[in-house]
Subunit: 365 residues, 2 copies
Amino acid sequence: MTGLLPEGFHDRLPPAADAAARLEARVLGHARLYGYEQVDPPLAEFADELATRLKAGGVRDAVRFIDPVSQRTLAIRPDLTAQVGRIAATRMGHHPRPVRLCYAGQVLRLSGSELDPQRAMRQIGAELIGLDSVAAASEVVQVAIEALHAAGITGLAIDFTLPDLVDTLAAGRLDPATLETLRDRLDAKDAGGVAAIDRRYLPLIEAAGPFERAMAKLRSIDAGNALASRLDGISRIASSLDGQVALTLDPTERHGFEYQSWLGFSLFAQGVRAEIGRGGTYTVLHDEGREEPAVGFSLYADPVLDTGLGTAERTRLFLPYGTRTEEGRTLRAQGWVTVAALEASDTPQAQLCTHTLHNGEITAL
Amino acid sequence: MTGLLPEGFHDRLPPAADAAARLEARVLGHARLYGYEQVDPPLAEFADELATRLKAGGVRDAVRFIDPVSQRTLAIRPDLTAQVGRIAATRMGHHPRPVRLCYAGQVLRLSGSELDPQRAMRQIGAELIGLDSVAAASEVVQVAIEALHAAGITGLAIDFTLPDLVDTLAAGRLDPATLETLRDRLDAKDAGGVAAIDRRYLPLIEAAGPFERAMAKLRSIDAGNALASRLDGISRIASSLDGQVALTLDPTERHGFEYQSWLGFSLFAQGVRAEIGRGGTYTVLHDEGREEPAVGFSLYADPVLDTGLGTAERTRLFLPYGTRTEEGRTLRAQGWVTVAALEASDTPQAQLCTHTLHNGEITAL
């Protein structure tokens, strides 16, 4: 009985747990104002079903167990987006499109990453299923930003990526093996290696950084206009944000965006090294093999809380032993957090109170 | 890809998932007003550690798996109270007493019961650690009732039980084996069997039902005053509730109260057969073997939602294609849920809207 927890698992104590609940309520509350309705899939489901909807290999990182009832393997979800996609494709398959859904819940992973050792996390997000247009992506990015602002997060930045850009540029030019080599060298920012394949891809390495500058570079290499629709699209999303947040572009960034189609984005907040959320366009799989376009974002509570959200001051009003029930009720109705003495010997100090009640008067301590 | 879920697992769709989130926010919000601060333990922890804090056999019903990092067995929590007790005893062990904590989270069980086949549930509750006095229990019961009222639940009833009553009555009179037989026969309401052990326990079978009548029966059999302090205590709790809810007493009820010490209670709501929550007094185990008194309650979201909470009407305002960003923002600030057309062809009907905007005017559909 050491009270120790496994690596990657932690207790959230007061006031951080209160702050996490507040964050979640504000993000979901904001998404709801835009018509996103909450869904709540179960913590576990059939592993093979979940596997078809997770990005490649996702189910290998899930806790799996044999269900004594069905005698089949169940998996604890390592990600909520796949389950929301399942709901949209099956039980809400006949709902008119687009469907706007939001969610919050625990996810569990067998292994943490070097960047983020957490294995039990709270994922909060919103998904728009049925469209992956510029208008749809603009709305989703806008909801994410406003929700974070509503939760009190400042100094937001968005890093956009174009996950299929290299494939699109190279279409018909490179064989699959060379394309894969090119992508690896772009990831490694290996200019010599990239030039050895084709010097025309070299500017991609340079086309990363502040949004406008990176876009100008990308436009300059898009001689055949293969990228025009993507570049126009991402420009329109950026304009719709109207200077609310700092924007960067890292057009060949693939890491963690294997699941995304034409657009991906990471959300950052001032003073937090890790990304606080991410999103992009993707497809939802239907029974008959049909793929439906979608766009969404997810936030992870822990890095968001690292922005200092959890440091609000507590106000607690001590009710001395014998305070009338009615008096406490009146004070709570006024918004006070009241802490009642349950024994005559109890004190405001022992109850970590900031205020106390004496002859009907409230005194700050 | 059938979209089917394992038995005992279910998706919560709109508007039930929104209602569940609202319920949780109101219950926790109300507990917070009484000074209960939120904690959020992780979904899984070391199985052997959890086992010492769960009621007998509890960990056998938990999903367990080998953690590849620690090479030890972890368990997904089947109950949150044990984790809250761990936090109170370890990381918050030096916090002045009583400690008031609240929580909400997913729990997972390998097997459902006949009465409740659900295996993935959302548990919401509050615990007061450091006291199990009448004053402490009264506060906890009061918070539970007010929180349910605040969440819109009506027709509440509380069924009290005195889990250690039979043991107390029989102290020094019966050997352990006979006591166990007596308890089984009382559970089965087997009057003949009870009389065969000792006719004096017969009135216990009768002393169940409406609170005042049951109490009078219990007082009549408490010739030696062995029960006086318990009966006075439960009477004072009942008086403190001041007619807010219907009260019953089932003094020998043991089922599900194996964990409780002198007091247990079940919460019921009009029109819902299953109990919507339960609570009582118990002890929290400390490192050095010391036991600390505590009292708390837990609610389960599903039966609470069965009270019809999830049937509130949705109001959704359609913003025709091209509506100015600023106009949507103003309407959301007024509290409207807005659903923006993302294509010129989109309609209020397709977006399940109740209202639409036309030339700046809102029209009900």
